[in-house]
Symmetry: C2
Subunit: 494 residues, 2 copies
């Protein structure tokens, strides 16, 4: 299944974020929504998502797709390769509108439903092709959260389940197959249980909204972010394992540790209390700022977990592998112009600042290093070349700082090869601020080609040397940077 | 309250980790435990904690305290400045043993209890000084998790609550005052609610242990790690705020989305199922390896959230501020020897590796940068100096890579001042591998003293220049590094 165009039924918080995920992954999105403000709202979600992705990965995202709002379900369904429904959570409404959309869609297309708790067997009951309907329940913000619960109804085909999961994986998500249809699926049942207890705590004046959130985010929520609950308990049980833990913990099931046997009545008084506490907790910060904070924290956590090759970090790593693999190979011939190469552009990430409020010096080297990876990619010294036993190591680096870069500032890097022999590349790089095209820093590097196992320098293999040679020849005509070969020292003043 | 020595009643998973937190924060710990293997077990926790702290922060931890196991409560209580009780969760036992420990403790000392759910009013009922008893409920692993729930009983004094909270804050924790005494306090009630629903899901074959954990760690658990649940829902409600969200979400409270009205019977069959699923989930990985993975993920998440100055990251940032402030000021006079300065040692963190499996080049500059911060600290160009408007910026850097560094390898950095004038410092640094004292890399730097607001170089203020001068004089006698002033280029071969 190759998805070039997605049809989105509903363009609210969920549908708009599906659109962002699709567009950032190179697909075109046609979104049916009758809200007169839909254009603006989707554009805002799109901008949040773009910002988050630029922080999340330096892997090459495909050229973004296009998107447009339409007013009928049929327009959204027509010509779509995948349809995702994110309409209001009313069973009768969904059943009716799904049948309507089906009249306009191609025969081989799957409909995924974003429902957070309605049963697929019932939702598919009005379809002519119920076998191609499946629940694909995402989490907010849909453009970042990896989880999508995939749950078929009685008439859903196994192929539909698998194809839908493959599609969601292709746009960076982590499908979880829900084996038995149940109201609320898995994650929302867990959330609902916790939520009911939270409502009781507020109702009974045990804790405020803020205190409940603090209890989670400074405590168990931190562990839930990467291990969930069963594995954490197993570890707490120590070497004797899970049975030991259950024996220790079992009795508390009989203790009065929750009031979950009942649910609080949502009286006006309780609603007022919750709203007042939530307002107090949120303070003067706008929802938009909170969205950005939430996204920045999620992205940072993904990257943190990636360094541990675990949980959501593994999802990100796999997604990046897909992106690298799918990258259109830049041909060496096409990249040779009468200018230095331009292989990397990015933005100064919030975490890159030091206590002076400027980009930390080590991040400059990180930027140069990423740009060098682009060069190595171009000449075929890519991850596969490294796995086959050869690589380039940095022998020396000389950085000259010229101008500051502020948070979120866009930049680009140019790369010029000053010289090369069979084992070495002498490279000059410049980081430019994209806003004014002024130089922020220059980097001069000597890269050594090595046999990794031997840990020794050795000549480049022909597959790489042959790609490098025409670049070296072309760059020999470029002017030599004035500061190339400069050394550091306090020189007598003029 | 200045705590130099803590008395720990109980040295199991919780007590041992309290010991590690205290010892790493420079306090001596006397631990009462009758387990013949207590020494070994506490030593293992201590080693885990040491590893975690070395990854977590480069701020200067105090010299570690000492610890020893004793066999009676009285020995642990005697001479302690703070007592923490982590005995088995049986009310009668705790009441009896707390009274026994009280006979040996000083009159002005607080007892904190690690109980995860027993009521303080009952636990303090056998004490002569119940006003100095308070619950301080921590979370596993206690040496890393910020949350400690502080809950007084009917007879606990306000001063005891405040002093206990200050003590916990001083060792890097985040106290949460529980305003109303309740079984299970706040966090465990939330965990318990979620846990009961998880047990039902397993019992009814809706999901396995692994699927439940996946539903959390790829989904809502990620958001719970930094915002909790109320604020996340508020954001989901969008600009209309919390009332709007409640109106949308309210009806689902009536839907059959949890089975929490009841608890599953822990039959042998259910226990067998949970244990088998947990074993399958854990695979061949040992508990010890899982502990390290858990700790590495937690540390990474703390650091990730620190870049967003939010949630657990704020706790870490505040803790580091304390550490920097509490650092014994190294006097310039004491640091002048006939050797280069040695101001930073550390370990290669797991997240520092690149796809070659070596420390990424940008991390070398990060290490040099941290060592330079140590130099600036020493000559008084510290955070306060920066806040008052002056700073040193890096103008140039030249790195020569000599040897690889592998994951977790210890290293130290030496710093030699080659020259200085009123505005500039020319500095030479060497990273040595601690295991064989061989050079891993050298760094040559030119630092420029600037007026930050003007963004211009200016002479160092006397407070800094006067501290720098004797170091420059002493270092003038050190041999000049052979590679100082070297430039990069492909030179003709010999």
């Amino acid at each position: 299944m190759h998805v070039k165009k997605v049809g989105l039924l509903g363009g609210g918080v969920i549908g708009g974020a599906w659109a962002a995920r699709a567009v950032l992954n190179g697909m075109d999105a046609v979104i049916c929504d009758t809200d007169p403000e839909a254009e603006r709202k989707v554009a805002e979600v799109m901008e949040n998502a773009r910002r988050a992705y630029s922080m999340m990965t330096i892997a090459p995202l495909p050229k973004p797709g296009t998107w447009r709002i339409v007013r009928t379900l049929e327009e959204a369904a027509e010509g779509a390769d995948f349809i995702q429904e994110s309409l209001p959570e009313r069973e009768d409404l969904k059943i009716r509108l799904l049948a309507q959309a089906e009249t306009a869609m191609r025969d081989d297309v799957i409909i995924g439903s974003s429902t957070s708790g309605l049963l697929p067997t019932r939702l598919q009951s009005g379809l002519k092709h119920p076998e191609r309907f499946v629940v694909g329940h995402p989490f907010n913000p849909v453009y970042l959260m990896p989880l999508v619960e995939v749950c078929g109804g009685a008439l859903t085909s196994e192929k539909t389940r698998q194809d839908a999961a493959s599609f969601y994986t292709s746009i960076g998500m982590r499908p979880l197959h829900v084996r038995k249809e149940i109201d609320g699926f898995i994650a929302d049942r867990l959330m609902e249980a916790l939520w009911r207890e939270a409502l009781w705590l507020i109702n009974d004046d045990i804790a405020t909204a803020e205190e409940i959130d603090d209890a989670m985010r400074f405590g168990p929520g931190l562990r839930w972010a990467f291990m969930g609950t069963l594995l954490v308990y197993r570890i707490a049980g120590g070497e004797p394992g899970m049975r030991h833990f259950m024996n220790q913990f079992g009795p508390s099931l009989k203790w009065p540790w929750t009031k979950l046997m009942d649910t609080p009545e949502l009286t006006e008084a309780l609603l007022d209390k919750i709203v007042a506490q939530s307002d107090a907790q949120a303070g003067d910060v706008s929802i938009r700022d909170y969205e950005r904070l939430r996204d920045s924290c999620l992205v940072s956590i993904f990257q943190a977990l990636k360094t541990n090759d675990y949980a959501a970090g593994q999802v990100l790593a796999n997604y990046e592998k897909q992106l690298w693999a799918g990258q259109a190979k830049t041909s060496v011939a096409a990249s040779i112009t009468n200018e230095p190469l331009r292989l990397y552009e990015g933005r100064v990430e919030p975490g890159w600042l030091d206590y002076n409020g400027h980009m930390n010096e080590s991040r400059y080297l990180q930027v140069f290093s990423t740009a060098s990876d682009g060069l190595l990619q171009l000449i075929g010294a890519d991850v596969g070349y490294v796995e086959r036993g050869h690589s380039f190591y940095t022998a020396e680096t000389h950085i000259i700082h010229v101008r500051e870069m502020r948070a979120d500032a866009p930049f680009y890097v140019t790369t010029q090869i000053l010289a090369a022999d069979e084992k070495r590349m002498h490279v000059w790089q410049t980081i430019y601020r994209a806003e004014d095209d002024l130089v922020a820093a220059t980097g001069e590097h000597m890269y050594l080609h090595v046999n990794s196992a031997a840990g020794k320098a050795c000549p480049m293999l022909p597959e790489v040397a042959d790609k490098l040679a025409p670049i070296v020849t072309a760059h020999a005509n470029l002017p030599r940077p004035a500061n190339a070969g400069r050394s550091i020292g306090i020189r007598p003043k003029a």
